[in-house]
């Protein structure tokens, strides 16, 4: 048997859209097979077809030589197919061990000791120190991800599908996850790996299948291809450059932070020039988001001073920050960045609503004009401004979040993980936008766990570790290993 799973001419239609179009692809036993494609290429639909969450309209699924016209969740589980979805599927109020063993029965009564032992064993394999008794709600997102993986492999698993597993992880944690993946591979488990991060595919995958617009483009052996080829296959057009970096920093100071302490951060001082893109590197939990929230007035600081344009400003709330020209694009766009149930225009005008109102009454014409202006500026693809944000793709949602902040005319903008989970095309647009903003003299703070993007876009990088500044690198001297070293200082 050459292939463990073969898909033959799978087609899935939705009203107005063909999500999968005559797609055929084969998976070899024990390989790490990456799926690559822009958002909307049909990767998620393909996963759902394999896991049985949806039934294809046409085509054949051949699992270990046996043919099915469709899978069901039950059949796929019985056959040892497990999926780790992009969004966590954990019960927050239960312990890590209980989550891993959820749905399993050991004897008549709940036996916590067995569950905890089992969980501890798996964590030990992964060389990760998680307390099996810890409630999931108290775990970091990286640890939750590991619980998620543990849950999948705790059962008899032959095929593991991982959808963007590295999104919430830091570099170190990704390495650790790769070790886990390699261990699984040695056990003979086939892995379908989906990621937007190209370098991960070259690190971990054996073969890669590129998809575009619901169709199959090409399956390649990773050893025989390179980044440019894959990107070209994915977008079907030539991209100019990966990082369209331009240097616009001038000598004037946009923002200065002195001795900022609070929220887990201690004594952080730095200065940001106009037109500069200042990167913040660090592991998850290094205190970067926390620092952003302190500057933005979202959390209370214990001490520290903030200067905008050289004058000290009093920021005690998010309202103060916006009034003083500081904007924040939060890391979690769905939960912090926008109002999913509200329209695009409603969202874009929101941060600046007070200025769009006269004696408390919103000037709807003005608000609409602003929304239109920023929709065009950011090229948000939508038939109407009334459209609810929840119906947009990840990239367009992120553009709405950015538009909201831009509409307040900030002098300093903090981008916290601006490109997490969005596709290549939208990423490029956001990089271009950051360049354009810096050309206008806006100071940008960029927090990102995507090292390549940070190296590609920043003029200067500050490294944080455990709430302290551990280093600063100038434009000419960026070095990934150096940054990692600084980020791991404790």
């Amino acid at each position: 048997m050459e292939y463990i799973l073969s898909l033959r001419n799978i087609t899935k239609r939705y009203p107005g859209v063909i999500a999968l179009n005559q797609l055929s692809v084969d998976f070899k036993p024990g390989e790490v097979h990456a799926l690559l494609g822009e958002n909307g290429a049909g990767k998620s639909t393909l996963i759902k077809v394999i896991s049985g969450a949806i039934s294809p309209d046409e085509g054949e699924i051949i699992w270990e030589g046996k043919s099915y016209s469709k899978m069901t969740p039950k059949i796929s589980k019985m056959n040892g197919i497990e999926v780790i979805y992009q969004e966590f599927n954990l019960v927050d109020t239960l312990s890590a061990a209980e989550n891993i063993c959820l749905g399993e029965k050991y004897g008549k009564f709940v036996d916590f000791s067995i569950m905890e032992k089992k969980a501890a064993e798996i964590f030990k394999q992964f060389k990760i120190d998680i307390d099996p008794k810890a409630k999931v709600e108290r775990l970091t997102s990286a640890h939750r991800q590991i619980v998620e993986i543990s849950k999948a492999i705790s059962r008899e698993c032959k095929l593991l599908i991982m959808d963007e597993p590295s999104a919430p992880l830091t570099v170190n944690e990704v390495d650790c996850m790769f070790d886990i993946v390699r261990t699984l591979k040695k056990k003979g488990i086939t892995i379908i790996y989906i990621s937007h991060r190209m370098e991960e595919i070259f690190t971990i995958a054996d073969r890669v299948t590129v998809m575009r617009d619901g169709g199959f483009v090409k399956t390649l052996s990773v050893a025989d291809t390179n980044r440019e080829e894959l990107i070209n296959l994915m977008v079907g057009r030539e991209l100019k450059e990966n990082y369209p970096k331009t240097v616009n920093a001038n000598q004037e100071e946009a923002l200065r932070v002195e001795h900022m302490t609070g929220n887990g951060d201690t004594d952080i001082s730095f200065s940001l020039r106009k037109g500069e893109i200042l990167g913040f590197a660090g592991l998850v939990g290094a205190g970067r988001t926390e620092l952003a929230r302190l500057i933005y007035g979202a959390d209370k600081r214990e001490s520290g001073k903030i200067y905008v344009d050289g004058t000290q400003v009093q920021i005690h709330s998010t309202t103060d920050a916006i009034e003083n020209g500081i904007g924040l694009i939060p890391e979690d766009r769905k939960n912090q960045g926008c109002f999913l149930e509200k329209g695009i225009g409603w969202n874009i005008a929101f941060n600046n609503l007070k200025n769009l109102s006269k004696s408390g009454i919103v000037n709807k014409a003005k608000a609409k004009a602003v929304a239109e202006e920023y929709r065009d500026l950011l090229q948000i693809k939508t038939p109407s401004l009334e459209q609810d944000v929840k119906n947009l793709s990840g990239g367009n949602q992120q553009k709405v979040v950015i538009a909201k902040t831009l509409a307040t005319n900030s002098k300093v903008i903090i981008f916290d993980e601006p490109t997490r989970g969005i596709d290549v095309g939208a990423k490029q647009e956001i990089y271009e936008l950051m360049n354009n903003l810096s050309k206008k003299g806006i100071g940008i703070i960029m927090i990102s766990s995507d090292m390549e993007e940070l190296l590609g876009m920043a003029d200067r990088i500050i490294v944080l570790s455990e709430g302290k500044m551990t280093g600063e690198l100038q434009g000419g001297e960026f070095d990934q290993t150096e940054i990692l070293k600084l980020a791991s200082i404790s």
Binding site: V17, Y296, A321, P330, F339, E341, K354, V362, K390, S393
Partner: protein, 321 residues
Amino acid sequence: MKDKIIGYIKKFTILLVLFALIILFGLINPVFFTWQNFMNILTQQAYVIIAAIGLSFIMIGGGMDLSVGYQMSLVGIITAMCMMWYNLPIWLSIMIGMITGVILGLCNGLAAVKLKVHPLIITLGTMTVYQGISYIISNSNTIFGLPDAFKFIGQGYVFGIPFCIILAVIVAAIASFILNKTYFGRYVYAIGSNEDAAHLAGVNTSRIKLFVFMICGAFVALSSIILIARAGSATSATGPGTEFTCMTAAVLGGISFKGGSGKVWGVITGVLILGVLSSGMQIIGLGTYPQYIAKGLVLLAAVGFDNYQKEVHVKKDKKIA
């Protein structure tokens, strides 16, 4: 075009239900179909409409207020007491009543903001406190014989229209204006929709929440004043129970329990559906107890239908994505 019509029908389902009920009762008994009867229903429901709109502010902002009923009880007792026991002028008594309502709302709001506990729990507590205070003040007495000039609020007519209906219309107009036209209104929707996002968007969420509770307090106070003016007397037992009627009406009218959505006209329709049910069933000879069953079933049917529609919607959305 067809989609548009279906869209409108979905949007105004609740209004169609109201008309259907009116026609149904009218067909069974023509007495129901008289101007006098409609005026009766509106007069009876005016105070509920006002209180329900107050509660809706809190619910749209993602909160809940169980203490509405005992706020009414306390405001009613204090207003009546000012007039009858301390012989204060009517206008001053009303002012004191209204201010009491705002203060009670403020207490709820402060507790919710400072203790950072869900308003449902907070107002479960304050409800009990207000109950105690109300009975201590009234000493379980009924305050009879409110002055005629005061009773005008609940019983009087202006140009042939009951004054309390006019008050309800004014309140509805003000509330609708605040929610739809002002940035404060949008902030209320925003907090109900996603509090974290609202905070990061520069909204002082604590202050908005306080205001929302105070607005509710003011509306509830007015509602209570209308109620005792109509009855001509006040006791500590006047008001309690209204909170559940309001909640039912709000949910019927499409105010989301999670917050972030809902319209004033929906709440009013919700109240009127309950009112029409009571009146209609009374007229066709069904007593109070069957009415309870009918109201409960209507609520379940309405939310069930709403949820079903949303699920269909979600499935459709998912398919497109």
